[in-house]
Symmetry: C2
Subunit: 266 residues, 2 copies
């Protein structure tokens, strides 16, 4: 089932995507809900980031082929392959939805990269769950783009702006509830050209392992988002580009790239 959060006119609602329609639901996507008789053609709604998370989590380096690349970005550090996840918070302010622009800050050096990833959506409060218990706390999976300013990533002590600037967390277009999360092909297209193809089977830590690890000290909340981590080598994006994260079986998250309006420019 594909569960979407969307805007129709001025109203925000949740629904289930069926063929070319979104069928509105009543109830909570985290508990019980039922379909209503209200259907909207997909072409007439705006899909939003599928949840309003209390936190957005990323696992640190989680693909062997990204470790070497990371060494070139993080100045003065040569990361080794980790023996446990290294969770960090991606700023909630950065969250944005399908179709919304990724805005390059006017004071960025411009070395801003996509990172196309799969994203687990937490369905129930969880604390101190084991990896084998974790799947029952996951509602489903969606697509995410861990947009990253490589200059700030190298300069700063944390990722607060390198990966947490406004609009640097596009997520969507909806949550797929019936899919094997460790067999996801994760494709990125930049202006229609494929620039990344990797598979979640190569994650160093699976989604249940990451979620179990975080849950040892943190209560995860319904709607929280947990990114897979990025694979391989990435490329810069520039104003005017279109970047798509395509995970067959889930959907396509497409975002244009724009420059921040600079009111001080002459």
């Amino acid at each position: 089932m594909k569960i979407a959060r969307f805007r129709s006119g001025r109203r925000v609602a949740f629904g289930v995507v069926m063929d070319d329609d979104v069928v509105e639901i009543r109830g909570s996507i985290y508990n019980r809900f039922r379909m209503t008789d209200t259907r909207h053609p997909i072409s007439e709604v705006t899909f939003l980031a599928p949840t309003e998370p209390s936190e957005i989590w990323c696992p640190g380096l989680n693909f062997a082929d990204h470790v070497e690349f990371a060494a070139t970005v993080l100045s003065g550090e040569a990361p080794s392959v980790p023996d446990h996840p290294n969770p960090w918070h991606k700023g909630r302010n950065a969250l944005t939805g399908p179709g919304e622009p990724i805005i390059i800050p006017k004071d960025s050096s411009g070395d801003v990269h996509y990172e196309g990833e799969a994203v687990a959506v937490i369905g129930k409060h969880c604390r101190r769950v084991t990896p084998s218990q974790a799947p029952r706390y996951i509602l489903g999976y969606t697509c995410g783009n861990d947009v990253s300013d490589r200059t700030w990533q190298g300069e700063d002590w944390t990722f607060w702006r390198a990966k947490g600037s406004d609009t640097f967390a596009p997520v969507g277009p909806w949550i797929e509830t019936d899919i094997d999360p460790q067999k996801l092909e994760m494709i990125v297209r930049l202006n229609g050209k494929e620039v990344q193809r990797c598979n979640s089977k190569d994650m160093l830590f699976t989604f249940p392992e990451i979620i179990s690890y975080i849950s040892q000290q943190v209560t995860l909340q319904p709607g929280d988002l947990v990114f897979s981590g990025a694979a391989g080598v990435t490329l810069p994006i520039k104003p005017g580009d279109i970047v798509e994260v395509d995970i067959p079986g889930i959907g396509v998250l497409s975002n244009p790239v724009a420059a921040e309006f600079d009111s001080s420019a002459s």
Copy 2:
């Protein structure tokens, strides 16, 4: 004015603390509100963390006398006095209120310290404000405890659990709107004995400077919390302790310390 969030019976409300009462308000603390005729004796309400922030921000090292201490905690790094704030996210899951226990996780080594700090409360959305503009986006100030597991702080790549474990962010008891934020005496008492006395005049970066810096890439939201950073040397806290953060002119944030219930212990 002292603005509090509190629970009375099953109801959560905002109010203004006047003498021994809390006067309920109607409206939004971030926009306009008015007093109602409903008064509760302070002794009959439970004060809560004064906002539900979208993010909790800390500035990195922000007192010269804490820099040297930090070098002993962060293995392999000798921090120098920073030339700009180094913002990081304290986990929202960690937020807790006055009187609530700080719970030492059962898998902590036990080297958990208080850090008594002043906390700015954002009152309005702000992005790209200057330090001179920032004060008008600040609603007021409260007390906070940046509870820190020094072992995890040294071991981990980020502060996700060292400073973000559940209950590691006590904040309260209320928001004082009329106070000079750079003249705050910040006192910590452990079991009634004074263990810290420092002053916000010694912050390397003032609250307006920190908020301006973060706002260059991040939209701050009403209710967001910005900690001052800690001063000096801190001490461990243990189950059974009571830790108080006292900022004269604001109030006293008091929390007991407890051990996590370990259901696996015999």
